[in-house]
């Protein structure tokens, strides 16, 4: 995460924007912070802000639903590294943002939400379209603000923006009563700054670095566990240098896909509930784990009793509260991921003697390959679709997903090589995240290909945003892995509920190719193996949003699998091993 949150001062005559209202000060603060794109939905209480936006060079994308605005802003932040911005009005506008804010909070994404609010005099009266936005969002924001003064509202927005992207990123909210944004002021906001009580530690203490280095030097079975913080902290170069220099195998969490090239010899890929067999063997049997920017989520650890039970845990994180929250750290190095990796590199005197361990890791890769059976005369396998699309797209293509089985197949069968190419909902697991986040990702990186994997159930939750993609003429390709069910739920019902498919079958989903066409996008439908490659090519060729409705084998399930709270080393390769 860049520490600099100030916009470059432009040497022009009109560099100093004059403001006349609180709303103009809000927009001036965003401009000052370097914001170029934002997302939102109009409404009564936010109208003054939109009126001020009318004269601004900031590109505003009107979304179909506020949830779409929040996810788009979230993805914009993930891809660009700078906080994404979204707007909503009071009441239902603000409550529609809540899922997207919670999503950003769980994944530590930089994002700022600006919500309209009823005039101050009406607050607390249960006025029309009034909700307690700061109260509702308190548990899901890094911090939030209730603006009270037209003179200072711009500075408040600047502070919220700066705070969102500094240290451990996270969403912030500024609630904007209409009288505050309408109010007269000539005070232009100052430079965006974090408050004086906020001072994240960037460099780890010497003792911690020494202890970590000595432990690593003595390790016989070391692994690096790379978490999302490696990407957030722009530490992928340092990670790669460190891992290759000391020849330590690298396992990643799901948010860390792309933090280390998966085609590298040392890559063990993703661990956890649906991680690879070899990654789970490596984290179960290691004797030393250098965990960088990860919070030991339960989907990664399985039952904590069986997680890396022989390992010394060296935990690197910028947030002290993550240390020993779920897994007790033997050494805690508080600081910025890139900085701490450089400190460790400087302190280490030699690489761990781990040749045998590396050979063991390679053996596990051969023992537990990620593979699937795909006879041409049977129903379409989703893994084949993912691999075909990976083959057909350039190296730095951005992948976004919804949540469910399709998301796991996208994790498992796409080869990630670069940071900020994987955009997904991890901690919250928000169905419908894929399409709006593809919109945000494409606007953050217009020169990159964007592929969105969705499931049928997930896609239906936000498919209205196709209209926005068409209007903005965004060249994104949506692959719906359609099994006419919420497949992950169905898979669990098969495994743990005696196959009682309660409310998980979706025979009623529409024809997604026709739905796409109704929105003005290009639609395709695929049922056979021999149609996959050419349809993918046609969809990628199409200059604008396209949707491919892949009718996949409805029996396809996601394996390997560690059941909830299970032992990672005991991952099941099929249902009968659960």
């Amino acid at each position: 995460m860049s520490e600099r949150v100030t916009a470059p001062v432009e040497e022009t005559d009109d560099a100093e924007r004059t403001v006349e209202t609180g709303a103009e000060s809000v927009i001036a603060a965003l401009e000052g912070a370097g914001v170029e794109t934002c997302f939102g939905v109009q409404g009564g209480a936010i109208m003054p802000v939109y009126d001020a936006l009318y004269d601004s060079d900031i590109h505003h994308v009107t979304m179909a639903h506020e949830q779409g605005a929040a996810h788009a802003a979230d993805a914009y932040g993930i891809v660009s590294g700078e906080p994404g911005v979204c707007f909503a009005t009071s009441g239902p506008g603000a409550t529609n943002l809540v899922t997207g804010i919670a999503d950003a909070s769980m994944d530590s994404d930089p994002m700022i939400a600006l919500t309209g609010q009823v005039p101050t005099a009406f607050v607390g009266n249960d006025a029309f379209q009034e909700t307690d936005t700061t109260g509702i969002t308190a548990p899901i924001t890094k911090t939030n603000y209730f603006a009270t003064d037209s003179d200072t509202v711009g500075d408040t927005v600047g502070e919220a923006f700066a705070l969102s992207g500094t240290g451990r990123p996270g969403p912030t909210v500024v609630d904007l009563p209409k009288d505050v944004t309408n109010g007269a002021t000539d005070r232009a906001p100052g430079e965006a700054r974090t408050p004086d009580t906020y001072d994240p530690q960037m460099e780890a203490d010497d003792e911690a670095i020494e202890a970590a280095a000595r432990t690593l030097e003595a390790a016989e079975k070391p692994v690096i566990l790379a978490g999302g913080g490696v990407i957030k902290g722009d530490a992928t170069e340092q990670l790669r240098a460190f891992a290759t220099e000391y020849e330590i195998p690298v396992v990643t969490t799901m948010p860390a896909l792309g933090s280390f090239p998966e085609d590298h010899e040392l890559a063990m890929e993703m661990a956890g509930m649906h991680g690879t067999g070899y990654a789970n063997m490596a984290i179960t049997h290691c004797d030393t784990m250098l965990a960088v920017g990860c919070r030991f989520d339960d989907r990664l650890t399985g039952g904590v009793e069986t997680f890396a039970p022989d390992a010394q845990i060296l935990h690197v994180d910028i947030d002290p509260a993550e240390i020993s929250k779920n897994i007790t750290a033997d050494v805690a190095a508080i600081g910025d991921a890139a900085t701490v990796l450089e400190q460790l590199d400087a302190e280490l005197q030699h690489a761990p003697d781990a040749r045998e361990w590396r050979e063991q890791c390679q053996t596990w890769k051969e023992e537990y390959p990620m593979d699937y059976a795909a006879p041409e005369d049977e129903l379409l396998r989703p893994e084949f679709v993912v691999e075909t699309m990976d083959e057909a797209t350039p190296d730095e293509t951005i992948v976004t997903t919804g949540v469910g089985q399709h998301q796991m197949w996208a994790c498992q069968y796409w080869t990630y090589r670069h940071p900020r190419t994987w955009v997904s909902s991890h901690g919250l697991g928000t169905m419908g995240y894929g399409l709006p986040s593809a919109i945000g990702a494409k606007l953050a990186a217009p020169d990159r290909d964007v592929v969105c994997f969705e499931g049928d159930g997930s896609f239906l939750m936000t498919c209205q945003e196709l209209a926005v993609a068409v209007h903005e003429n965004l060249d994104i390709t949506v692959a719906v892995l359609n099994n006419s069910s919420v497949g992950m739920v169905r898979q669990w019902q098969d495994a743990f509920f005696e196959g009682r498919h309660s409310a998980s079958q979706y025979p009623w989903v529409p024809a997604f190719d026709k739905l796409a066409e109704a929105f003005g996008a290009c639609g395709f439908s695929v049922t056979e193996y021999n149609e996959v490659a050419e349809t993918v090519e046609a969809a990628l060729e199409y200059d604008g949003p396209s949707v491919i409705d892949f009718h996949i084998d409805p029996e396809s399930n996601v394996y390997p699998m560690v059941p909830s709270g299970g032992d990672n080393g005991q991952f099941a390769l099929s249902e009968d091993q659960l």
Binding site: T197, A321, Y372, A373, A572, Q577
Partner: protein, 231 residues
């Protein structure tokens, strides 16, 4: 993702048999274990740390919503809290929140660190066992035996706040144990109502309660020392 197991024939995949490898029962198992708190343990002694009761003091910015944030945090993360008090300090810009919690060691550290993450929180400290702790209770008992009530009040260095023909209301201040004892003693008269404040506390002697307070005190002191034009 896929390994060298695939053979590409003019763009056509020839797939084999899906996932394979030794089944769970055929794999090596590590020897160690962790307890439910995520701490690596000697399998011979499956020890989990027991909860202990302690006092945490937080210096916070005196602005609306801070108390709601702190208490919301405690309930949301299911910390086991006994009491929470709050009040302004000598500097009107800050308040002190005092929490009494009962948690195992990792939980206590989590309370401190999660509180510290709240932006309006300036400094957080767990107080030592020797900290000065006080609580106040107001007890309203039936007034049929005023002399006896007065005697018990005296015994606990209490103060009578209100006495009438029907009820007597007294105030007792002290540590938690003393308050508990006093309430027990007043039970004989029949307690109609009572209200307790929860504990407030400070570090003993010349020790500062949290680590930023000395510096803040010096700064305020300088402000008071600034000469005015009234001389």
């Amino acid at each position: 993702m896929s390994q060298e197991t695939e053979t590409e024939i003019e763009g056509e995949y020839e797939r084999t048999n899906g996932l394979r490898g030794p089944p769970p029962e055929a794999r090596p198992r590590p020897s160690g274990r962790r307890n439910s708190q995520g701490t690596r343990i000697d399998p011979e002694v499956e020890a989990e740390r027991h909860p202990r009761r302690t006092v945490i003091s937080a210096l916070v910015k005196n602005e609306p919503g801070v108390l709601a944030r702190a208490s919301g945090l405690v309930s949301r993360r299911q910390f086991n809290i006994e009491s929470l008090t709050v009040g302004e300090t000598t500097n009107p810009e800050t308040s002190r929140i005092t929490l009494v919690i009962e948690e195992p060691e990792p939980g206590i550290r989590q309370v401190e660190k999660q509180l510290e993450k709240l932006v309006p929180v300036i400094s957080v400290q767990e107080l030592g066992r020797d900290a000065v702790r006080r609580e106040l209770v107001i007890v309203k008992v039936h007034g049929s035996d005023p002399d006896k009530v007065h005697a018990v009040t005296e015994m606990y260095d209490g103060t009578t706040l209100d006495a009438g023909p029907q009820t007597i209301t007294v105030e007792i201040t002290g540590d938690e144990q003393k308050i508990d004892d006093a309430i027990d003693a007043f039970q004989q008269f029949g307690i109609r109502e009572l209200s307790r404040t929860g504990q407030t506390a400070m570090a003993r002697g010349d020790e500062w309660t949290t680590d930023v307070e000395e510096e803040r005190y010096e700064r305020m002191h300088e402000r008071w020392q600034t000469p005015t034009n009234n001389d």
